[in-house]
C-alpha cells in the first residue's frame, strides 16, 4: 500500500474511499503551488529579499533558494495536477509546507515582522495575516499527508 512506516491509521481522504474528494484536494494543492510559484519566478530578487526578511537563513543559501524554490513548487504542483509521480510530488510539497510552517511559527512566536511571500510578492503579510497563513499551511500539510496514501497510478487506474 505504500503507507508511511508506522502509520496504521486510515485517512478519510484515502483515494479508494473518496476518490472525487481526493482528486479535488490533489488539484487544489497542485494549483495552489503552481499559482504561488508564478510571481516568485518572475521576480527572484524580491523573493530573495523576502527570504532574508525571515531572519532565519544564512546569507549563502538565500539566493540559491530564491532561484530554485519557485521551480520546485511549479514542477511539484504540476506533477500533482497531471498525476505524474504524485506521491513524489506530495513528498516534496509536504516537506516544503513543513519548512514554511516552522519558519512562520518561529517568527510569530518571537514577534518578528516579516512578509511571507507566499503568493503575490506585492502582498505584505504582518502578524495577523501570518497567523492565518500558518493555519492555511497546516490545513494543506494535513491534506498532503492524507493524500500520501494515494495508491500508485498503475494500481489505482
Amino acid at each position: 500500500m505504500g503507507l508511511p512506516i508506522g502509520w496504521k491509521g486510515d485517512c478519510p481522504l484515502k483515494y479508494d474511499k473518496r476518490p472525487l474528494l481526493a482528486l479535488v484536494l490533489r488539484l487544489v494543492i497542485g494549483i495552489t503551488f503552481v499559482a504561488a510559484s508564478i510571481d516568485k519566478i518572475g521576480d527572484p530578487g524580491r523573493f530573495a529579499t523576502i527570504i532574508y526578511g525571515y531572519s532565519l537563513f544564512p546569507g549563502w543559501i538565500i539566493n540559491p533558494s530564491a532561484i530554485v524554490l519557485p521551480f520546485v513548487e511549479l514542477f511539484a504542483g504540476m506533477a500533482l495536477i497531471v498525476g505524474v509521480v504524485p506521491r513524489s510530488a506530495l513528498m516534496i510539497i509536504s516537506t516544503l509546507l513543513f519548512v514554511f510552517i516552522v519558519a512562520i511559527t518561529i517568527n510569530l512566536l518571537r514577534g518578528h515582522q516579516f512578509d511571507c511571500g507566499c503568493f503575490s510578492l506585492a502582498q505584505t503579510s504582518r502578524a495577523s495575516s501570518a497567523f492565518w497563513l500558518l493555519v492555511r499551511d497546516l490545513v494543506l500539510f494535513a491534506c498532503a499527508i492524507c493524500l500520501f496514501q494515494i495508491k500508485r497510478p498503475h494500481r489505482s487506474l
Binding site: 527572484p44 532574508y52 539566493n63 532561484i67 509521480v85 513524489s88 500508485r152
Partner: protein, 175 residues
C-alpha cells in the same frame, strides 16, 4: 509479511527516485531560466549588513558597493566638515520628522519633479552623499544611479542611512 515489507521499501525507493527527478529537473530549469532572464539574480547575494546595503544583486542592479560609506565615524566627519551635500531620499514626511544635519530632501518618488531645481542649485561636480532609511533600503543606490545619469559624478552612499545615524545617538534636524 516479509513480502509486504519488501513492497513498502520498493515503493519508497520509487517515491524517492521520482522526487529526485523532480528536484533535478527543477534545479536545471531554475538555473537556466535565471541565467537567461533579465530579472535573474547572482548565485550569491549581499546579505551581510556589516558590508553595506543588503541586496540580492540582480543582473541589472544599481548597487555599487564601491561608493558606500559603511563607517559611522567617517560619516560624522563628513557631516561636520560640511564638504559634501547630504541628500535624503526618504519621503517628505520622514524628512520632516527628522534628518541628518544640513541634509536636503530629494524623495525618490518625486525625483522627476525635483531634479530640475536640484540641477540648477547644485553643479555637477558637487560632492553628494545620499542616504535612505537603512541598510535594507536600496533607494539611496537607485537615486545615486539616477543622479549619475544626469552627470553628477562625485556621489557616495551612506549605507547605514538614518537608522544607523539614530542608533549612534547623533543629533538630527527636525523641520
Amino acid at each position: 509479511m516479509a513480502q509486504e515489507r519488501n513492497e513498502i521499501v520498493q515503493n519508497m525507493v520509487q517515491d524517492f527516485k521520482g522526487g529526485a527527478v523532480l528536484l533535478i529537473v527543477s534545479i536545471c530549469c531554475a538555473l537556466a531560466f535565471n541565467s537567461w532572464s533579465d530579472s535573474g539574480i547572482a548565485l550569491k547575494g549581499q546579505w551581510d549588513r556589516s558590508q553595506g546595503v543588503v541586496s540580492p544583486m540582480e543582473k541589472n542592479t544599481v548597487v555599487d558597493g564601491s561608493r558606500e560609506i559603511n563607517d559611522l565615524d567617517t560619516m560624522v566627519e563628513l557631516v561636520n566638515s560640511k564638504r559634501c551635500t547630504l541628500v535624503d531620499v526618504r519621503s517628505n514626511s520622514q524628512f520632516d520628522a527628522g534628518h541628518l544635519p544640513g541634509a536636503v530632501s530629494l524623495p525618490i518618488e518625486a525625483f522627476d519633479q525635483m531634479i530640475g531645481d536640484f540641477f540648477v542649485e547644485y553643479p555637477l561636480d558637487t560632492c553628494l552623499v545620499v542616504y535612505c532609511a537603512g541598510r535594507e533600503c536600496l533607494d539611496s543606490h537607485r537615486l545615486a544611479h539616477s543622479l549619475k545619469t544626469f552627470g553628477f559624478f562625485d556621489i557616495r552612499i551612506f549605507s547605514g542611512g538614518f537608522a544607523d545615524w539614530m542608533e549612534g545617538g547623533l543629533s538630527v534636524e527636525i523641520r
